[in-house]
């Protein structure tokens, strides 16, 4: 993506975030006691100042992007197949969300093994056997360290429990 376009998108995003914060997020999700003696000491003051500054920076980004020259040729993409790259990212997002959701049921160790294997195969590792061995060994080694040396209560899940 060219620099000018990035700058404009960032500027629009920052202004949108600022408006959302001031109009919706802060009034609804920040509570303030009614007896605050001065507005500067209110819990609302600091988030409002930061939101306003974010909007100002967004405006600055748009203004400065106008001064930038348009490139004669668009930048080459860093990947050959963008749809495939987005698909991989979407699958990775599913792996991450799934790992958080299944962790209480499966336990940390088994979830970690599945996450390792899924990620390695998603990036089409050239060493599938090593990846599978590591997918089993690394979570177990980390379990031994955190559960038995550091004393962390590693979630065991409902199915197979480790010593």
């Amino acid at each position: 993506m060219e620099d000018r376009s990035i700058q404009i998108q960032l500027g629009i995003g920052a202004i949108a975030a600022s408006v959302f914060l001031i109009a919706v997020a802060i009034p609804f999700w920040v509570s303030s006691p009614s007896n605050v003696p001065n507005v500067i000491l209110s819990p609302l003051f600091w988030p409002n100042v930061l939101a306003a500054l974010t909007g100002l920076i967004g405006a600055g980004l748009i203004v400065t992007s106008i001064a930038r020259p348009r490139p004669e040729k668009p930048d080459a993409s860093d990947v050959d197949d963008r749809p495939a790259a987005f698909t991989r990212l979407a699958i990775m997002a599913v792996i991450m969300i799934a790992s958080v959701l299944v962790m209480p049921r499966l336990g940390l160790v088994w979830t970690a093994m599945l996450t390792f294997a899924a990620t390695a195969f998603l990036v089409k590792t050239k060493h599938p056997r090593s990846a599978l061995v590591c997918a089993v060994v690394i979570p177990l080694v980390l379990y031994v360290f955190f559960a038995h040396i550091a004393g962390v209560a590693v979630p065991q899940g409902d199915f197979v429990r480790l010593p």
């Binding site: 993506m1 509570s31 600091w46 939101a51 920076i57 990620t119 990036v123």
Partner: protein
Amino acid sequence: MSFIDSLLAGLQLVSNVEAFLALALGVAIGVIGGAIPGMSATMAVALTLPFTFSMTPITGILLLLGVYKGGIFGGSIPAILIKTPGTPASSATVLDGYPMAEKGQAGKALGMALWASCTADLISNLALIFFAGFLASFALSFGPPEFFTLILFSLTIIAGVSGDSLLRGGLSAMLGLLLATIGLDLVYGTNRFTFENPNMMGGLNFIAVLIGLFAIPEILSMVWNPASQDGVARSLGRNKVTFQEYRRSFKSIVRGSFIGVFLGSIPGIGAAPSAFLSYSEARRKSPNKEDFGNGEIEGVAASEAGNNGVAGATLIPLLALGVPGDVITAIIMGAFMIHGLQPGPMMFVLNVDIIYGLFIGLIVSSIFLFFLGSVAIRGFKYVADIPRGVLFPAVLILCIYGVFAVNNNIFDVGVMFAMGGVGFVMMRYKVPAAPFLIAFILGPLLEDNFRQSMLMSGSSGWVLFRGPITWFFWTLTAITVFAIVRAGIRATRHQATGTSQP
């Protein structure tokens, strides 16, 4: 407590096998982490942090400092052998290191990198020992208005110099400050963006945000483009650096070390600018200036001295003022907090044994770096051969375990993944992550000092200009903003007219 008493207290604290083993292990982890292309010293320190929870504060912090020191040197190994800097700070080392490797003098270049790194590291550590205590005693007289202006100055310079533009750095810092407002209000205890979720009442977990911002985006980048970026490693050759060559480069090494110390002690500048400045000064002063860029050993010495000279000096603002000098020291500041310590001037009063223990450990780390660095140079081939398709899933699993272990909370793992997404978008949009993280850490301090100042003065803003210290920091902030804006305007004009920058 006298200097000797403090030194003895520090010596007593670190004179055990555990502390020195942790330091040596840290240096080894750092060198390996820095040497793996795609990882970095920052990621290595972040991933090591969860392993320190079960250690005593001094052992845990020494481990992290070892990783920091090792990581900065480790970055020079792939820079010289495969033209891929392991850390951004090693970019200047590529300029002469790789041409030397092409000539079959990789062993010589790496040897010089190690000698220069250890010398600069030692000078930087001595600067820390001499200046941190002095600065801390001065900072003891700081009140909330002084701290507010100091933190504001630090954030301005960090936002200004860590990215392509002040505005993008500023946006990153604002997002960090906004994220830091999540949790209970500091004065009234009311909810701010907590959505009635008890997990969010204490604010977002620092480690989850940190690892999410610095490790997960690298994994997502690998998923985005899994094509291998590995270069071809050059052989070390039979040449070794001689004492004669070290002596010839000594002036450049010392100059680079002092440049590193000076720039490192200013929050936010970091090691990369220091390495380039040291390199350009060495070229300017050298009788062989035409050889620079074509494999001049003095160029390798200067750039490595520049980036390693920063490593001890970035701890000066951290230990003396409680303000992190760069991202890695921000992580180390988090480690202090996790172990119940608050870096800053009061630490020189309350925990002087830990301070002097760290000083002793840092001096010893230069010696460990020398020996472990020599081994790492020979073992690089094995490190470079780790397949990325196995390495990055392993890093992901380390992240999950590490973040979970902080509070035994799965919610933190979710926060880490969410922050990973944010970090990846920031990376794609060229928004620097360093101001975000440092603002996230300093945000509560900034707000707290601001509100305390207002409470002190009955809400009068004049308290923020109450004396010479606040004037000093306001002036520095104004000069920084002016200089960065002027540089930005000049760069934009040059781009618009199609001329290159002088």
